[in-house]
């Protein structure tokens, strides 16, 4: 079993101009086919970190441009789905998006163009990965650290790290090594959901807290009755305080 403490990391993305533009769907196709991986990453993966508190999953840049500027919603839908299907596979994502665009006859790809000044600008995301907080030694500490971590930590470990290395996210592999396969599986399922990052965080942590309830109940069954009553009173008092607390406080 792997008992070495786990260090979490966050990420900062620098944006690099590639000096390449697409003015129609054919140029978009060629651009996607030839773009460096860091550009596919920036436009079809990194956008999830730009508005982590959004209500839902924001569309990738390629489909957003196709829908909003070129105004070809059907292709936008298909591009969006292609990006969603390959969250950890740059080559697969690229091939799927190129295939969507190649399904449109070439002459029509040229006809579907942007107004002057509305060209798609290819950019690249360059990542700077930084340690985040002290290392954690057990599953509870990991979840507590994730609860306190900002969106860039969630993004790095559960989206960018597998995209970059093709491997299982470090916290999930670490939990398995720690002999916590059930918690690892729960983390894997929740963090793989294609939702806004804050939503992923909320549902993951909520499942974790619920899973701790049964453990706490089981642990409490061996505690003498007066202590259990006192613990119950404290829990109710805490709940009342939370209910009474004005929103946002």
């Amino acid at each position: 079993m792997n008992h070495a403490p786990l260090s979490l990391h966050g990420v900062i993305h620098l944006v690099r101009a590639l000096r390449r533009r697409a003015g129609d769907l054919e140029e978009l196709r060629v651009g996607i086919a030839e773009a460096p991986r860091s550009s596919i990453f920036y436009h079809a993966v990194q956008h999830r970190l730009r508005d982590p508190a959004g209500d839902d999953l924001a569309p990738d840049d390629f489909s957003a441009w196709t829908r909003g500027v070129v105004q070809h919603p059907e292709t936008a839908e298909r591009l969006g789905f292609a990006a969603l299907q390959h969250p950890q596979d740059a080559d697969g994502m690229r091939a799927a998006m190129v295939e969507v665009l190649e399904a449109i006859p070439k002459s029509q790809r040229h006809e579907r163009d942007s107004p002057l000044g509305g060209e798609f600008e290819f950019l690249a995301g360059e990542s700077v990965v930084m340690p985040w907080g002290p290392p954690v030694a057990d599953a509870a500490a990991l979840y507590e650290a994730l609860a306190a971590a900002d969106a860039s930590v969630w993004f790095w470990h559960f989206i960018e790290e597998p995209w970059t290395t093709g491997a299982t996210p470090t916290p999930i592999a670490w939990l398995r090594g720690l002999g916590e396969p059930r918690l690892a599986e729960m983390l894997a399922i929740e963090t793989a959901k294609p939702a806004a990052l804050d939503q992923v965080r909320r549902t993951t942590l909520s499942r974790w807290r619920r899973s701790r309830l049964s453990a706490r109940v089981a642990a409490a069954s061996g505690v003498p009755e007066p202590e259990r009553r006192e613990a119950g009173r404290r829990a109710i008092q805490g709940l009342v305080r939370r209910v009474r607390r004005p929103e946002g406080e």
Binding site: L14, V15, A17, T164
Partner: protein
């Protein structure tokens, strides 16, 4: 004396930011600074007074020092002949046709050479702002990282002007631009770092009601009707006459007060000309107020923006237009042209409304004057958008991250086992 003293007195900027953006962005800044600890950052530009770059540096240098990275600010010494050349260079980089003589080029080169011998460029990380000091790269020492930060829109740069700068820029480790469309073809990485505003400064801090009244009272602006305001220099590219024409269309349907407020035009012959054109167009209208403000009227600008119902930025061409972020930060409803860096700040129908014509500006302004709920919604989203993307903490973070990134792509002088540039 070339070093600009930056006061560390008064309340902590980091604490001020923590209250605004939360712990996360401040901690990120501190982590980056911790990683770079022991290194010294030197900022260089050509003036410590006036202009957006100096305004940013006064605050940013302090913020970086508070975050834990020793940062100094050097101002390049110059003379009248040099400034005449660099002013022409600036205009030509913006697209104005200018012819440079060999003598001009020599003045530029010699002044940079002289400055290189007087400035304290002994830091590990050197950030050079704008074209004037670009030639300082001759002073580069082994182990240093040099970055050129261009605040100018180079998308219409004249070839003869860019040819003066390009050979110098190619020798930097990276160049930084405010917007993708401003970045020319380069042999070095062209990074994008939008400029930012300081929510703690006089121009952007929240004003008490009595303070606001006291600032607005001397201006004598009628306040019976909602204010529609454009804050900008009297410059044709800001289209102040177009703003008046748009307002004439608005006023057919809705009583309102237009305010055009900008810097004094005394030292700018073209500014005076444009101001005269604006006054002529306004004529005897009493529902239009044209204000000439001194360069340090930050609090007055703050109070006008805060009191306005709709803020306009109807530019024909723009660099970044931080007045837009200033308005959004104050939760104002903004109507702005889709040019330059404005669309990064105004996301149409989410953080503001983008327009492309006089009629468009009139339509969206009229719409907003009748829609308080929409104004509130746009203002709220705009405020959050600026908080997350256009405050000094983000700009400082990007500069530090860039130096870390450069280090991981060079000899590893700053490499650290826990910090890496994501492999692709």
């Amino acid at each position: 004396m070339t070093r600009v003293p930056v006061s560390l007195d008064g309340p902590s900027q980091l604490d001020g930011y923590r209250a605004i953006v939360g712990d996360g962005p401040v901690q990120t800044l501190e982590r980056l600074a911790k990683h770079l600890r022991g290194r010294r950052l030197v900022m260089v530009n050509s003036t410590s007074l006036g202009g957006g770059v100096a305004e940013i540096l006064h605050r940013l240098v302090r913020l970086l020092n508070e975050a834990g990275i020793a940062t100094t600010w050097e101002v390049m010494p110059g003379h009248a002949r040099f400034y005449a050349v660099t002013k022409a260079l600036h205009n030509a980089l913006h697209g104005t046709p200018v012819k440079f003589t060999d003598e001009d080029r020599e003045v530029f080169r010699e002044t940079n050479q002289h400055a290189a011998s007087t400035l304290e460029l002994d830091g590990d990380l050197i950030l050079i702002h704008d074209p004037q000091p670009a030639g300082l790269i001759d002073r580069r020492q082994p182990g240093q990282s040099w970055v050129w930060r261009c605040h100018i829109d180079l998308s219409h740069a004249r070839v003869e002007a860019w040819d003066m700068i390009a050979p110098l820029v190619q020798r930097y480790d990276a160049a930084v631009f405010s917007h993708a469309s401003f970045a020319p073809e380069l042999g070095v990485p062209a990074m994008l770092v939008p400029p930012s505003i300081d929510p703690l400064s006089d121009k952007n801090r929240p004003l008490r009601e009595d303070e606001e009244e006291r600032l607005l009272e001397p201006l004598g602006i009628p306040d019976r009707h909602p204010w529609v305001t454009q804050i900008s220099r009297f410059d044709r590219l800001k289209d102040p006459v177009g703003v008046v024409r748009a307002f004439e269309l608005v006023a057919r349907h809705q009583r309102a007060q237009l305010i055009l407020a900008g810097g004094s035009a005394d030292d700018d012959p073209e500014g005076a000309e444009v101001l005269a054109e604006v006054r002529e167009r306004v004529g005897k209208r009493t529902d239009v107020s044209v204000l000439e403000l001194p360069p340090d009227a930050h609090l007055t600008i703050n109070s006008i923006q805060a009191r306005s119902t709709v803020l306009l930025q109807k530019s024909l061409r723009e660099g970044f237009a931080l007045t837009v972020s200033e308005g959004l930060w104050k939760r104002r409803a903004v109507v702005a042209s889709a040019v330059g860096g404005i669309p990064l700040q105004v996301q149409h129908e989410r953080t503001g409304l983008l327009v492309r014509s006089i009629e468009g500006a009139a339509y969206q302004t009229t719409r907003l004057l009748h829609a308080p709920a929409l104004r509130r919604e746009l203002g709220l989203h705009g405020h959050h958008h600026v908080r997350d993307n256009f405050l000094h903490t983000r700009e400082a973070r990007d500069y530090l991250a860039l130096f870390v990134w450069l280090a991981s792509h060079s000899t590893g002088a700053l490499s650290h086992p826990g910090v890496a540039s994501g492999p692709r």
